[in-house]
């Protein structure tokens, strides 16, 4: 019907695939809504946007965005995106996946893509658990939090993801919760415009598994926690933004720097050494 209001993010979603698989109160959908708005604000033409995911709940994002999109293997979205990004220098490649996928099985690829400064934006929805497989412990699950594989509470040390990305050389590092939709949208917009490796951690609730198992209430209660206990500290030293169980959350844009991207470094070196004998890589014509 012509007078039916159209949702402004419909254009970036595969509406024929709705309803999505995410649970009520899950934060992934909120982050996708922010992402769709950010793509619009950044003025990125959808034909030149490619989204790559790994496996897991957040790994399903690639299946719902209406752009050329790839749902790859567990942990390996980043190396796939590396080949795609290098070979499509005129496109923006976004890796959208979860904490287990990107930082456990995919941790090696994460640090190396950041180190190489591959031109891509990595969005990590951190819900502190493997949702798709039923709520197991991940490298970001806080100490003492319960997961199905840590029934007596987690006893491992955790990753501080902004610090990890920062120490590997990421050009842009931000963290927001899904309560901070405007700030998150702004940071996503910024990240999409940055050349090189940018990273955004999105703290999000998993009401079905993480919240329930740890008696933290539903998605609304998670948002209340994010609202009450978040402090915005743009430019904070990423060494100071580590998280613990239901601790205060430091959010904001922590890092902005400008180094040569992988491709810029490659071209600079080859021109110096090979001179006119160098034929730059243009990727696919």
């Amino acid at each position: 019907m012509s007078d039916t209001p159209v949702n402004p993010v419909d254009g970036l979603l595969r509406m024929e695939r709705m309803p999505h698989i995410w649970c009520g109160g899950c934060g992934i959908g909120t982050s996708v809504n922010c992402f769709a708005r950010a793509v619009d604000k950044a003025g990125i033409d959808h034909e030149h946007l490619h989204v790559v995911s790994g496996i897991g709940c957040t790994g399903r994002v690639a299946g719902y965005v209406n752009v050329d999109s790839f749902h790859t293997t567990h942990g390996r979205a980043i190396p796939f995106a590396t080949g795609l990004s290098l070979s499509r220098p005129d496109s923006k490649v976004v890796v959208y996946s979860g904490d287990g996928d990107l930082t456990a099985i995919g941790g090696n690829h994460f640090i190396h893509a950041a180190r190489r400064n591959i031109d891509m934006t990595v969005i990590c929805v951190n819900n502190f658990t493997y949702g798709m497989t039923g709520g197991q412990v991940t490298p970001t699950t806080p100490y003492s939090a319960k997961a199905s594989t840590t029934p007596y509470g987690n006893y491992e040390h955790t990753f501080n993801l902004p610090n990890l990305a920062d120490s590997c050389g990421a050009q842009f590092v931000a963290r927001w919760t899904v309560y901070h939709v405007r700030q998150l949208t702004r940071s996503m917009t910024k990240a999409l415009k940055i050349k090189g490796f940018s990273f955004i951690e999105v703290i999000a609730p998993c009401p079905t598994l993480y919240q329930r198992r740890n008696k933290l209430g539903d998605g609304v209660m998670a948002l209340q926690y994010y609202k009450d206990q978040s402090t915005i500290q743009n430019g904070a030293d990423t060494a100071d933004v580590g998280l613990s169980f239901q601790s205060d959350l430091i959010v904001g844009e922590f890092v902005e720097r400008e180094n040569l991207t992988f491709m810029e470094g490659y071209e600079k070196r080859m021109k110096e050494i090979l001179g006119d004998g160098f034929v730059p890589y243009k990727g696919a014509k």
Binding site: R14, H46, F80, G83, R88, H112, F278, V279
Partner: protein, 385 residues
Amino acid sequence: MKADSSAVLTGMHFIDGNEACGEGAIAAGCRFVAGYPITPSTEVVEQIARRFPKIGGMFIQMEDEIASSICFQGAVWAGLKAMTVTSGPGISLMMEHVGLAAITECPSVFVNVQRGGPSTGLPTLPAQQDVMQARWGSHGDYEVIALAPSSPQECFDHVITCFNLAEKYRCPVFFMMDETVGHMLGKVKIPPADEIEVVERVYTKRPPGEYLPYKIYDGDQPEMVRVGMGHRIHSTGLTHDERGYPDMNAEAQDKMVRRLCSKITDHVDEISIAESDQVEGSDVTIVSYGITARVVAYAVDLLREQGLKVGRVRLVTLWPFNEKLIKDVAQNTKAIIVAEMNLGQMVYEVERVVAGKVPVHLIGHAGGAMIELQTIMDKIKEVAS
């Protein structure tokens, strides 16, 4: 289509199989390689790393073989011809992405310069122990194509065949070299570019909205697409429908997997390359492939001079297995010997097809050295007598 003349090193060369493989990939149009150093394959990527900056290619040394085996698939979807190169432990790590290439129908070339295994095994010594792994190594039902070269010249020629087959059949294609053929120096003739047949990727001409990435319109292959064409494709490693969207039930699985297999098994005659020599009326026929086939050919020549009636079959294409060829051999010889640098892999496939019609023997050892000429001659004489 013909090869790109600006990149082909036309002329006579004295190079090893690894270098020849690198040059062959360049001639085939490969312009993106992701790899990780591993003996005895490393010279292939070293050659690529030297040459690519001068011809507009991109080599990236990834953090491991897992990354390499999916990085190049990203480049394929971008619109490039691409490959990865490895050996034993590396190809084991890559198996998940062989499955990804199979289910997403990504034209993929995996070069495996085989060494002795299992595990770290024999990094600097040859074997042909990965033949069954190439066929069955990733989980699930699927088909692959695999070729085994016997000389540096064939390392050049047949890596081109691999790229051409990958484009035609949209599947993982293995180039099953081994340490000996990889490090063997030999005369390699690189023809003029206009004499090198190269299969270019054919992209769909259907406009956005009228194209589904996994629908069969004509023939039995879906029409290829790359990013940025406006189709907004979705590619997934999940069981999917014609749109490429996840469709997870028994019917969709059966339909998809059967097609992934039949699109190759229905074309064995077109895919298969083999040599068959004096099989008819022979007392014994010896079947071999790769570097082993060179020793076998010499052994057979010497025994024929002694008056023995020996047939010889060399498989260049290992997979899909040419059942018809081996059935014909079984009709025309009295016994079959399979010679391979492993404790028996292809011999099972031969036994399966021969089905007891004639006796099937194995000459094999666990890798580390080529099979000795004398060992082959002794066995042929024993079986023929």
